[in-house]
Amino acid sequence: MEQAVSPTPVTRTPNRADGKDKPRRFDAPNRLEIITGIIVTLFLLGFPWLNPGYRILSLSITTAFTAVALYGLALQFGQAGIMSVGHSAVMGIGAYTAAILATKLGVGFWVALPLSALLSALVAGLIGLPSLRVSGQHYIIITFCFCALLVIALTNGGSFTGAATGLDVGSIDPIFGISFDRLKNAYYLVIVALLLCIFAYYLITNSSYGRTLRAIRENEPLARAVGIKTGFHKIGVLMVSGAFAGVAGILQAYYLHHIAPNLYGAFPSLYLALMVMLGGPRLLYGPLLGAIIVNFLPEIMHLDPIDSRIAYGISLLVVILLLPGGVSAGLLRIYRWVARSVNKSDRHDRA
């Protein structure tokens, strides 16, 4: 049905008379994808059984909701090629929507969740409007400006936004008798959100829509020339990405129980961009990997915050210079190399 509304010729081979060879709407997953998917799901769901302790578990929750936002960013940058260094502003819209709804109207988490996602998507689309006119670095600078603007607006918002001190947020209403004040339950909630996001990201990248986005990334004038509505799809992917960020924002607000403007300023935004580049924006588990590395590295290596930030910066430089596809692309290359040499030795044995 959607195909009739917006024909996207680059993703469609002309239909033959016999009706065969129709374009696939979704690519079927291969064996590697299924196996890694099951492993990752089991690991994430089973993590609390390993008794990680309070600190690691709360760090995992932070990692998980950051990763939700990162999947949005990966979608817009990795697939459609629109980078943003103001992504935490969109996350902040989600968080503040939830906080203001809760403090002013008494609206709980479950009602606020779709509203946060919706409003973040709308704001992301609004921020994206300049991307129709300017591209590349100019647009990135604009996103950075929007981020700075949001912080100024939130700080000057008086009692409505809680000014510089921010707003307090209550706890998530229990559902089916499950209280999310217990850290383990909060972990499951965030992880389910994360898994849904990863699944959505997978579906999008492997669908005809994902191919449309990649066509825009690779050559926008060409994509426009073959009939893709590039402007429409650019704003569209920014809004999808914004919805991801909104969900991340509301999860963060309810996890921290307190939000302030500086959570959504320039630096958190830069760290989001850093994480997505570090992990690799184009592969399925890249954003997750980036979030895990950045959040767990200081814990594992016992770095204080200043040293760990220097370490992030250096690792970003190293990744860009040596592994432009991020750590995930590097791992994939190692895997392929191992797989190929195993195959080769098999053939040698047979011969």
Partner: protein, 289 residues
């Protein structure tokens, strides 16, 4: 009326520092094709070096040259060590410079601390002209900026180096065939922009306190100035800097000062959307990959 003149004169000195940063960015972005997000941190490092030297008992004007040399050397190392490898992929260079700014900021915090640094006014005189107080140091800052602007402007538009530079922007291959060492010019422009950042930092700490986080505030204003004026356009950077200074001065004196930064951001976003090439026009900057 007197407050208006007082505000305008004060904002002129603030605008001078912004113009210095803006010229550095406009040259590096528009002519060398590198977006250096760490440029604000270069300025901050310049200010910190000045502070360190002045606290060690060095005369301010000597410390100023020290800051320029340190930041210029930093620019040379960074260009040769990092940006050289991303010239054909400007987007990667941009992201790398974000990492660089994080590194510089926290290295400075590690070496010194997070507390804001000030130096005593190096001149310490106030002239009173017609009921308007003019702090001598501010006048010196404006004068130095004016000299730098003039030198840069004529250097780019008149000297053979400037012509060769613009030729290599217009057509890199042809320029290289004409015997212009394009890569050396890229390095040269980068170092020159860094020197200006060092100078800006030294002048800034003579007027205001500097913290390790000053860079991230300055960089937005620097981008605003260079994009409003048009990339690679020195005159445009001056116009942009004066415009921002005017907006700042007026909003501080008459409007609501807490929204000061917002005005300049809105101005810049509006210019980028309505006239992406900037008010005075410039090179459109490096093509996005």
């Amino acid at each position: 009326m007197q407050t208006l003149i007082q505000q305008l004169i004060n904002s002129l000195s603030v605008a001078s520092v912004t113009i210095l940063i803006g010229i550095g960015i406009t040259l590096i972005f528009g002519l060398a094709g590198i977006v250096n997000f760490a440029h604000g941190e270069f300025l901050m490092v310049g200010g910190m070096v000045t502070w360190f030297l002045v606290s060690a008992g060095v005369n301010f004007f000597v410390a100023l040259f020290g800051a320029m040399i340190v930041v210029g050397a930093l620019g040379f190392i960074v260009e040769r060590g990092l940006f050289r490898f991303t010239l054909d992929r400007p987007m990667n260079g941009f992201i790398m410079s974000i990492g660089l700014s994080v590194i510089l900021q926290h290295v400075v915090i590690r070496i010194f601390n997070e507390v804001q640094k000030t130096i005593p006014d190096p001149v310490g005189q106030v002239w009173v002209i017609g009921g308007v107080n003019i702090i001598a140091m501010r006048a010196i800052v404006v004068a130095i900026t004016a000299i730098v602007v003039a030198v840069t402007y004529f250097g780019i538009s008149r000297s053979r180096y400037g012509i060769a530079l613009r030729a290599s922007i217009a057509d890199q291959d042809t320029a290289a065939l004409m015997g212009i060492p394009v890569r050396k010019y890229v390095t040269g422009v980068f170092i020159y922009g860094s020197l200006l950042a060092g100078l800006g930092g030294a002048l800034m700490i003579a007027l205001f306190p500097i913290t390790p986080f000053t860079g991230s505030v300055v960089i937005i204003r620097g981008f605003a100035v260079s994009l409003i004026g048009g990339l690679g356009n020195v005159g445009g950077a001056v116009v942009g800097g004066l415009l921002l200074g005017l907006v700042d001065g007026l909003s501080a004196g008459y409007g609501s000062p807490e929204w000061t930064d917002a005005y300049s951001l809105v101005l810049m976003i509006a210019v980028l959307i309505i006239r992406p090439q900037g008010l005075l026009g410039g090179t459109l900057g490096p093509r996005a990959s």
